[in-house]
Protein backbone atom coordinates (compact mmCIF):
# COMPACT_ATOMS: atom_id res chain seq x y z
CA UNK A 1 0.00 0.00 0.00
CA UNK A 2 2.90 2.31 0.88
CA UNK A 3 4.59 1.55 -2.45
CA UNK A 4 1.31 2.09 -4.28
CA UNK A 5 0.79 5.44 -2.52
CA UNK A 6 4.34 6.57 -3.23
CA UNK A 7 4.12 5.50 -6.87
CA UNK A 8 0.80 7.29 -7.22
CA UNK A 9 2.33 10.48 -5.84
CA UNK A 10 5.39 10.11 -8.08
CA UNK A 11 3.14 9.64 -11.09
CA UNK A 12 1.12 12.73 -10.17
CA UNK A 13 4.32 14.75 -9.80
CA UNK A 14 5.52 13.52 -13.19
CA UNK A 15 2.19 14.51 -14.74
CA UNK A 16 2.42 17.93 -13.08
CA UNK A 17 5.95 18.43 -14.45
CA UNK A 18 4.72 17.35 -17.87
CA UNK A 19 1.84 19.85 -17.76
CA UNK A 20 4.08 22.67 -16.54
CA UNK A 21 6.57 21.97 -19.33
CA UNK A 22 3.84 21.67 -21.96
CA UNK A 23 2.28 24.99 -20.93
CA UNK A 24 5.69 26.71 -21.03
CA UNK A 25 6.40 25.48 -24.56
CA UNK A 26 2.92 26.38 -25.88
CA UNK A 27 3.17 29.85 -24.29
CA UNK A 28 6.25 30.63 -26.38
CA UNK A 29 4.36 29.69 -29.57
CA UNK A 30 1.53 32.20 -29.07
CA UNK A 31 1.68 35.68 -30.60
CA UNK A 32 1.41 37.79 -27.42
CA UNK A 33 0.93 41.08 -29.26
CA UNK A 34 -2.04 39.74 -31.26
CA UNK A 35 -3.53 38.07 -28.20
CA UNK A 36 -3.25 41.22 -26.08
CA UNK A 37 -5.18 43.19 -28.67
CA UNK A 38 -8.19 40.85 -28.69
CA UNK A 39 -11.38 42.25 -27.19
CA UNK A 40 -14.91 40.83 -26.78
CA UNK A 41 -16.51 40.56 -30.21
CA UNK A 42 -13.20 39.90 -32.00
CA UNK A 43 -13.95 36.17 -32.34
CA UNK A 44 -14.13 36.41 -36.12
CA UNK A 45 -10.94 38.39 -36.59
CA UNK A 46 -7.95 36.75 -38.32
CA UNK A 47 -5.86 37.13 -35.14
CA UNK A 48 -8.37 35.22 -33.00
CA UNK A 49 -8.94 32.55 -35.67
CA UNK A 50 -5.16 32.09 -36.08
CA UNK A 51 -4.52 31.65 -32.36
CA UNK A 52 -7.57 29.41 -31.89
CA UNK A 53 -6.46 27.27 -34.87
CA UNK A 54 -2.96 27.10 -33.44
CA UNK A 55 -4.28 25.94 -30.05
CA UNK A 56 -6.60 23.43 -31.70
CA UNK A 57 -3.73 21.98 -33.76
CA UNK A 58 -1.56 21.59 -30.65
CA UNK A 59 -4.39 19.94 -28.77
CA UNK A 60 -5.09 17.48 -31.58
CA UNK A 61 -1.43 16.50 -31.67
CA UNK A 62 -1.46 15.58 -27.98
CA UNK A 63 -4.31 13.28 -26.86
CA UNK A 64 -3.48 13.95 -23.20
CA UNK A 65 -4.71 17.57 -23.53
CA UNK A 66 -8.42 17.95 -22.84
CA UNK A 67 -8.73 21.76 -22.96
CA UNK A 68 -6.34 24.44 -24.17
CA UNK A 69 -6.99 28.17 -23.72
CA UNK A 70 -5.50 31.54 -22.95
CA UNK A 71 -6.60 33.94 -20.19
CA UNK A 72 -5.83 37.33 -18.80
CA UNK A 73 -6.39 39.16 -15.54
CA UNK A 74 -9.15 41.77 -15.51
CA UNK A 75 -9.12 43.48 -12.16
CA UNK A 76 -9.82 40.86 -9.51
CA UNK A 77 -11.13 38.38 -12.03
CA UNK A 78 -9.69 36.18 -14.73
CA UNK A 79 -11.26 36.04 -18.19
CA UNK A 80 -10.80 33.85 -21.23
CA UNK A 81 -9.20 35.26 -24.36
CA UNK A 82 -8.88 32.36 -26.83
CA UNK A 83 -10.40 28.98 -26.16
CA UNK A 84 -9.52 26.17 -28.57
CA UNK A 85 -13.11 25.00 -28.18
CA UNK A 86 -14.71 28.33 -29.15
CA UNK A 87 -17.44 27.68 -31.66
CA UNK A 88 -17.39 23.97 -30.83
CA UNK A 89 -19.23 22.45 -27.87
CA UNK A 90 -19.17 24.87 -24.91
CA UNK A 91 -16.05 26.87 -25.63
CA UNK A 92 -15.65 30.28 -23.97
CA UNK A 93 -15.80 33.55 -25.85
CA UNK A 94 -13.40 36.48 -25.38
CA UNK A 95 -13.99 38.18 -22.05
CA UNK A 96 -15.97 35.35 -20.52
CA UNK A 97 -15.10 35.42 -16.82
CA UNK A 98 -13.78 32.28 -15.20
CA UNK A 99 -15.63 31.96 -11.92
CA UNK A 100 -12.93 30.19 -9.91
CA UNK A 101 -9.69 32.02 -9.16
CA UNK A 102 -7.10 30.13 -7.10
CA UNK A 103 -3.40 30.64 -6.25
CA UNK A 104 -1.95 28.20 -8.82
CA UNK A 105 -3.90 29.91 -11.61
CA UNK A 106 -2.77 33.41 -10.53
CA UNK A 107 0.83 32.14 -10.18
CA UNK A 108 0.66 31.16 -13.85
CA UNK A 109 0.66 34.89 -14.80
CA UNK A 110 4.18 35.29 -13.46
CA UNK A 111 5.81 31.85 -13.93
CA UNK A 112 4.91 28.34 -15.07
CA UNK A 113 2.72 26.64 -12.45
CA UNK A 114 0.47 23.65 -12.05
CA UNK A 115 -2.54 22.68 -9.93
CA UNK A 116 -1.58 20.92 -6.72
CA UNK A 117 -4.76 18.82 -6.90
CA UNK A 118 -7.47 18.00 -9.40
CA UNK A 119 -9.96 20.83 -9.82
CA UNK A 120 -13.57 20.38 -10.72
CA UNK A 121 -15.53 23.04 -12.58
CA UNK A 122 -18.26 23.24 -15.18
CA UNK A 123 -16.00 21.50 -17.73
CA UNK A 124 -15.16 18.50 -15.57
CA UNK A 125 -12.37 17.30 -13.28
CA UNK A 126 -8.94 18.23 -14.58
CA UNK A 127 -5.33 18.80 -13.62
CA UNK A 128 -4.07 22.04 -15.19
CA UNK A 129 -0.75 23.59 -16.03
CA UNK A 130 -0.24 27.33 -16.69
CA UNK A 131 2.49 29.49 -18.20
CA UNK A 132 2.66 33.24 -18.90
CA UNK A 133 2.30 34.54 -22.46
CA UNK A 134 4.47 37.57 -23.23
CA UNK A 135 4.27 40.20 -25.96
CA UNK A 136 7.20 41.30 -28.12
CA UNK A 137 8.46 43.59 -25.35
CA UNK A 138 8.48 40.75 -22.82
CA UNK A 139 5.50 41.99 -20.86
CA UNK A 140 3.10 39.34 -19.58
CA UNK A 141 -0.20 39.77 -21.41
CA UNK A 142 -1.91 36.61 -20.17
CA UNK A 143 -1.39 32.94 -19.67
CA UNK A 144 -1.98 29.70 -21.48
CA UNK A 145 -3.81 26.94 -19.63
CA UNK A 146 -3.44 23.24 -20.41
CA UNK A 147 -6.01 20.86 -18.89
CA UNK A 148 -5.50 17.14 -18.61
CA UNK A 149 -8.58 15.02 -17.97
CA UNK A 150 -8.50 13.32 -14.57
CA UNK A 151 -9.37 10.01 -16.21
CA UNK A 152 -6.05 10.09 -18.15
CA UNK A 153 -4.12 10.47 -14.89
CA UNK A 154 -6.33 7.86 -13.19
CA UNK A 155 -5.68 5.44 -16.04
CA UNK A 156 -1.94 5.83 -15.53
CA UNK A 157 -2.31 5.41 -11.75
CA UNK A 158 -4.53 2.35 -12.18
CA UNK A 159 -2.01 0.75 -14.55
CA UNK A 160 0.81 1.26 -12.03
CA UNK A 161 -1.45 0.10 -9.17
CA UNK A 162 -2.49 -3.06 -11.00
CA UNK A 163 1.12 -3.83 -11.91
CA UNK A 164 2.19 -3.45 -8.27
CA UNK A 165 -0.63 -5.71 -7.07
CA UNK A 166 0.26 -8.35 -9.68
CA UNK A 167 3.92 -8.26 -8.58
CA UNK A 168 2.92 -8.49 -4.90
CA UNK A 169 0.57 -11.39 -5.74
CA UNK A 170 3.32 -13.29 -7.55
CA UNK A 171 5.77 -12.61 -4.69
CA UNK A 172 3.25 -13.90 -2.13
CA UNK A 173 2.66 -17.05 -4.21
CA UNK A 174 6.40 -17.72 -4.54
CA UNK A 175 7.01 -17.07 -0.82
CA UNK A 176 4.04 -19.29 0.06
CA UNK A 177 5.40 -22.06 -2.17
CA UNK A 178 8.86 -21.86 -0.59
CA UNK A 179 7.39 -21.89 2.94
CA UNK A 180 5.12 -24.83 2.07
CA UNK A 181 8.04 -26.78 0.58
CA UNK A 182 10.27 -26.01 3.58
CA UNK A 183 7.51 -26.95 6.04
CA UNK A 184 6.90 -30.20 4.17
CA UNK A 185 10.53 -31.33 4.45
CA UNK A 186 10.62 -30.44 8.16
CA UNK A 187 7.39 -32.33 8.83
CA UNK A 188 8.63 -35.30 6.78
CA UNK A 189 11.90 -35.50 8.75
CA UNK A 190 10.12 -35.14 12.09
CA UNK A 191 7.81 -37.98 11.04
CA UNK A 192 10.88 -40.10 10.19
CA UNK A 193 12.37 -39.42 13.64
CA UNK A 194 9.05 -40.24 15.24
CA UNK A 195 8.76 -43.52 13.31
CA UNK A 196 12.32 -44.49 14.29
CA UNK A 197 11.64 -43.74 17.96
CA UNK A 198 8.47 -45.83 17.78
CA UNK A 199 10.33 -48.74 16.17
CA UNK A 200 13.04 -48.71 18.84
CA UNK A 201 10.49 -48.44 21.63
CA UNK A 202 8.93 -51.68 20.39
CA UNK A 203 12.29 -53.51 20.36
CA UNK A 204 13.20 -53.07 16.69
CA UNK A 205 16.85 -52.01 16.73
CA UNK A 206 17.42 -52.58 13.03
CA UNK A 207 16.61 -49.00 12.16
CA UNK A 208 18.88 -46.30 10.79
CA UNK A 209 18.33 -42.54 10.59
CA UNK A 210 19.04 -41.18 7.14
CA UNK A 211 18.29 -37.51 7.77
CA UNK A 212 20.87 -34.98 6.59
CA UNK A 213 20.17 -31.37 7.41
CA UNK A 214 22.25 -28.40 8.51
CA UNK A 215 19.72 -27.06 10.99
CA UNK A 216 18.22 -27.90 14.38
CA UNK A 217 16.30 -30.85 12.92
CA UNK A 218 19.61 -32.19 11.56
CA UNK A 219 21.24 -31.79 14.99
CA UNK A 220 18.32 -33.58 16.58
CA UNK A 221 18.65 -36.41 14.04
CA UNK A 222 22.41 -36.69 14.75
CA UNK A 223 21.81 -36.81 18.52
CA UNK A 224 19.09 -39.33 18.03
CA UNK A 225 21.35 -41.40 15.76
CA UNK A 226 24.11 -41.47 18.39
CA UNK A 227 21.61 -42.54 21.02
CA UNK A 228 20.24 -45.34 18.82
CA UNK A 229 23.75 -46.50 17.87
CA UNK A 230 24.82 -46.64 21.55
CA UNK A 231 21.68 -48.52 22.42
CA UNK A 232 22.32 -51.10 19.69
CA UNK A 233 25.97 -51.55 20.72
CA UNK A 234 25.02 -52.05 24.36
CA UNK A 235 22.21 -54.43 23.49
CA UNK A 236 24.49 -56.45 21.17
CA UNK A 237 27.23 -56.56 23.81
CA UNK A 238 24.80 -57.67 26.50
CA UNK A 239 23.41 -60.33 24.19
CA UNK A 240 26.96 -61.50 23.40
CA UNK A 241 27.90 -61.67 27.08
CA UNK A 242 24.85 -63.79 27.86
Amino acid sequence: MYTYGETKNALKETTQDELRGLASIIATQIDGDAMAALRPGDEETPAFVAIRHQLETIRQSNPDILYLYTMRQAGDTVEFIVDADYGVEDGAAIGEVYDRVFPELLAGFTAPSVDSEFTTDGWGTVLSGYAPVRDSSGTVVGLVGVDMDSSRVMQRQDFIGNTIFVIIGIAVLIAGGIIALFSRTIIRDIKTLNATANAISTGNTGVTIGIERRDEIGELADSFGRMVASLKIMMDTDAGEK
Binding site: T208, G210, R226, A229, S230, I233, G240
Partner: protein
Protein backbone atom coordinates in the same frame (compact mmCIF):
# COMPACT_ATOMS: atom_id res chain seq x y z
CA UNK B 1 44.83 -45.20 26.92
CA UNK B 2 47.25 -44.39 24.10
CA UNK B 3 47.06 -41.06 22.33
CA UNK B 4 45.91 -42.76 19.11
CA UNK B 5 43.19 -44.68 21.01
CA UNK B 6 41.92 -41.40 22.46
CA UNK B 7 41.87 -39.72 19.06
CA UNK B 8 39.92 -42.62 17.56
CA UNK B 9 37.52 -42.60 20.50
CA UNK B 10 36.91 -38.84 20.22
CA UNK B 11 35.86 -39.29 16.61
CA UNK B 12 33.78 -42.44 17.19
CA UNK B 13 31.79 -40.85 20.04
CA UNK B 14 30.45 -38.27 17.57
CA UNK B 15 28.83 -41.10 15.56
CA UNK B 16 28.17 -43.87 18.08
CA UNK B 17 27.56 -42.01 21.35
CA UNK B 18 28.67 -43.20 24.80
CA UNK B 19 28.95 -46.88 23.75
CA UNK B 20 31.63 -46.02 21.17
CA UNK B 21 34.46 -47.33 23.38
CA UNK B 22 32.65 -50.62 23.85
CA UNK B 23 32.19 -50.89 20.07
CA UNK B 24 35.88 -50.18 19.34
CA UNK B 25 37.01 -52.58 22.07
CA UNK B 26 34.93 -55.29 20.41
CA UNK B 27 36.47 -54.56 16.97
CA UNK B 28 40.08 -54.73 18.16
CA UNK B 29 39.50 -57.83 20.26
CA UNK B 30 37.48 -59.74 17.69
CA UNK B 31 39.35 -58.80 14.53
CA UNK B 32 42.86 -57.70 15.60
CA UNK B 33 44.27 -60.61 17.59
CA UNK B 34 42.60 -59.71 20.86
CA UNK B 35 44.31 -56.31 20.92
CA UNK B 36 43.08 -54.09 23.79
CA UNK B 37 41.67 -50.89 22.27
CA UNK B 38 43.62 -48.81 24.82
CA UNK B 39 46.89 -50.11 23.35
CA UNK B 40 46.13 -49.06 19.79
CA UNK B 41 49.12 -47.90 17.71
CA UNK B 42 49.16 -45.70 14.59
CA UNK B 43 50.09 -48.75 12.48
CA UNK B 44 46.84 -50.46 13.56
CA UNK B 45 44.67 -47.66 12.15
CA UNK B 46 44.19 -48.98 8.56
CA UNK B 47 42.95 -52.36 9.82
CA UNK B 48 40.71 -50.82 12.44
CA UNK B 49 39.26 -48.35 9.90
CA UNK B 50 38.46 -51.25 7.59
CA UNK B 51 36.56 -53.16 10.29
CA UNK B 52 34.80 -50.02 11.48
CA UNK B 53 33.59 -49.40 7.92
CA UNK B 54 31.94 -52.84 7.86
CA UNK B 55 30.68 -53.11 11.45
CA UNK B 56 29.43 -49.52 11.89
CA UNK B 57 27.30 -49.88 8.74
CA UNK B 58 25.26 -52.46 10.64
CA UNK B 59 24.48 -49.92 13.37
CA UNK B 60 24.31 -46.50 11.73
CA UNK B 61 23.53 -45.13 8.26
CA UNK B 62 25.99 -46.49 5.63
CA UNK B 63 27.04 -43.04 4.54
CA UNK B 64 27.83 -42.03 8.11
CA UNK B 65 29.69 -45.33 8.71
CA UNK B 66 31.83 -44.58 5.65
CA UNK B 67 32.47 -41.06 6.95
CA UNK B 68 33.52 -42.41 10.38
CA UNK B 69 35.89 -44.96 8.84
CA UNK B 70 37.39 -42.30 6.57
CA UNK B 71 38.07 -39.99 9.52
CA UNK B 72 39.68 -42.80 11.50
CA UNK B 73 41.85 -43.86 8.56
CA UNK B 74 43.17 -40.28 8.25
CA UNK B 75 44.77 -40.71 11.70
CA UNK B 76 47.06 -43.41 10.31
Amino acid sequence: MSQVSQQVLDIAVQYLGPAAERFLERQTKAHMDNLPFADLKRSDIPTLASWVRTSAALIIDKKKAEELAERISRLG
